[in-house]
Symmetry: C2
Subunit: 185 residues, 2 copies
Amino acid sequence: METLEAISKRASLKTHISTRDIEDDKVTKILEAARLAPSATNEQPWRFVVIKGKENVENVITGAARMDRKAFDEAPVLILVFVNPKDYVFPDGKTFYLLDIGLATENILLAATDLGLVSHPMASLDGDKLKEMLDIPDEMEFVIATPLGYPLEGSYEEAAQERWRERTRKDLKELVYVNKWGTPL
Amino acid sequence: METLEAISKRASLKTHISTRDIEDDKVTKILEAARLAPSATNEQPWRFVVIKGKENVENVITGAARMDRKAFDEAPVLILVFVNPKDYVFPDGKTFYLLDIGLATENILLAATDLGLVSHPMASLDGDKLKEMLDIPDEMEFVIATPLGYPLEGSYEEAAQERWRERTRKDLKELVYVNKWGTPL
């Protein structure tokens, strides 16, 4: 799929995930995409735990979900993104590593879309419970996760069309100024 | 360009930027890609100031750069990303909006790559000086910027090949565990 098409088609589709298994090489391609994201001083602060198999996913979601779990606890794959924030906070106290995690996470979402898989980024999992269940070292912090799955419908396009129709994004005119604040695009 | 190809080819290329002007519609496509990124509760916290024209870019870079300015102060376009952090901090104090900015920024970098333009994310600009120069409202915070330009060399591939050769990324084995921490991919 063309890059701009994947960017445009990517949508959050937690209620459109089939239980069908995902081939290992597709999951690896998605993780490879995350690996290639840029990061401040090439720190690569991301670490991934991939939960494979819907029973394992269900156990993790049931044990750590704060909300909305029913929608995706049968996904065949769940990618959990962790970070080690140690020595990685900017002088003014901002947790800047979260920006790097965002860069890598968008690659995950776009690679999944490109491969015809649906995804849905979510932060509403209990990091402490995840760490306990998955033997995550103390210093790591949970940031974000996404289930991955084939679309419940026949194709990505069918799964996403309602979501695209209802998509609400601010207009570029509300988001972009030229040369100085207030001068519209 | 295919999505996975763009993800793989994207590199930080500040020393490979030509002064050649970029067509307005390409810049708009890149901003449109940013606009379509997901964000927590669809907050869309990003705002963009696009500096157009190499004199304007040079003025901004000269006025606000903390380092390394010479490499990209002649770029024809500079995209500055701001956020309004108000009411947008997670309960545990994490500046979670930075993750959303990362999602949108990766779309900018990939769309640029797809269109044959080079980019280079950088946070080393003085936000206070930017705000003063560009009439940015007090409540906004500068997060990250990227110059955009045609490659100095004949093609993106020529511009990037040295950078690709020198690319150092951790192996997937160092980054990914399966089902629990410590079980390699």
